[in-house]
Symmetry: C2
Subunit: 218 residues, 2 copies
DNA sequence: AAAGTTTTTCAACAAGCGTTGAATTTTATT
DNA sequence: AATAAAATTCAACGCTTGTTGAAAAACTTT
């Protein structure tokens, strides 16, 4: 592969990521993407074979990295105390912190991607299939950890709890500005530090409340 | 206004609601909508004046009803014990139950609408503006009630808690099928009864954990 | 039954869509 | 320096898009 072919491909993905995140799959034209990437329209079909495949490629590119970071964070927590299972807060943090950290390190690279995932996750059209394909293996790994931390928890409660977590996470990273309006500017959707301290607390409490030991009587 | 003009307008809104909910604003053509409504394309522009205005009209139609039901539920709870403030669970339930009840009563009418709102809420493009316009007055009323139930709570924590609630609620009603895949069919996104018993518990616990009294030392 | 409104139909518009094949330029290999 | 391969450009295709103006039909009011 020639020297700057990859550079072009990446530039296309950057542009696609940005525009798809903001306006969704159908709200963006291939011409807009290629204009932003500074390349000819036909190149989109040379490097990726269709608009739809370009969309998938944009989604896949960073999913791999995020999955690896999350797994590493979980394993680090598990090794910290080898005997007893980690707390729920620690597990949730291992899930959410990698997002916040990498967003802090390379905001210009990851901001759009997070919004893109948020949009996909809530889309009846793509949500089920794509999120399952790209993220469920790692999510299942986290659910295993949570099962150990919540002995006797009913399976349904565990899944629903994760679902609520996913929704909260997703809306937060969508950065729609709703929160800013509602709070008259007191809270900013873009303030990820505000999230990082609050989300694990909020979510862990939810898990604890819902996933009590079903083997014991109430 | 002639007898069945309103009927046509409603049929158009039904079709728009359904298709917009499934594929988003840009994923749907006016021709598709009018074909589903069984009416000529030009009628869309006669009754509503543009595609965008039709979208807004579809969103607005049921928002009014939902807001009224929520307010009524909140006032009912408040009147139940006139002296002390209602519990957080009761307030959250007053917010979520109307959705679930009306979904139970008239599923074919409301199912699409809930998914539509879910999609809008997570859209960086429309989310901030539209949700603010149609729902924030009632949301502020609920936040007032929560302030009473959580004395000394920091304002930021309250707003972020609501944000997490909104995200969890939203993803649940988007019915993307993700939960079904993740749980291998054990949980169904469409099972609203499963939500109604779990969401208030989960969310109320989150509020409690995050919105402690900031005036007292930890 | 005539006149006036409101609703519906029909046909068309300019613009933009995703996509493609062939020609051309750039890079890698011999 | 010649040859092969990869990357890029250009121009175009058939089709669909949101939208509109004028004519026809349905309905109300006189």
């Amino acid at each position: 592969m020639p020297r700057n072919a990859k550079a072009t491909k990446e530039r296309i993905l950057d542009a696609a990521e940005h525009l798809f995140a903001k306006h969704g799959f159908d709200g963006v034209t291939v011409r807009q993407i290629m204009s932003r990437a500074g390349a000819d329209v036909a190149l989109a079909y040379y490097h990726f074979k269709s608009k739809r495949d370009l969309f998938d490629a944009a989604l896949l590119r960073r999913a791999k990295t995020l999955n690896e970071l999350r797994l590493a964070a979980l394993e680090a927590v598990e090794k910290r105390h080898p005997n007893d299972p980690p707390s729920i807060e620690e597990i949730i943090e291992a899930f959410t912190r990698p997002m916040l950290e990498i967003l802090n390190e390379k905001p210009e690279e990851w901001r759009d991607y997070m919004a893109l995932v948020a949009q996909v996750n809530n889309s009846p059209e793509w949500g089920g299939k794509l999120m399952t394909r790209y993220f469920d293996p790692v999510v299942n790994r986290f659910l295993d950890a949570l099962r150990l931390a919540l002995p006797g928890c009913r399976e349904e409660d565990l899944y629903w709890s994760y679902h609520f977590l996913s929704g909260a996470l997703t809306l937060t990273f969508a950065e729609t500005g709703r929160l800013d309006n509602l709070s008259n500017g007191l809270c900013l959707s873009s303030d990820m530090a505000a999230t990082s301290s609050r989300m694990p607390q909020f979510i862990a409490a939810g898990f604890r409340a819902l996933c009590h030991d079903s083997r014991k009587p109430d």
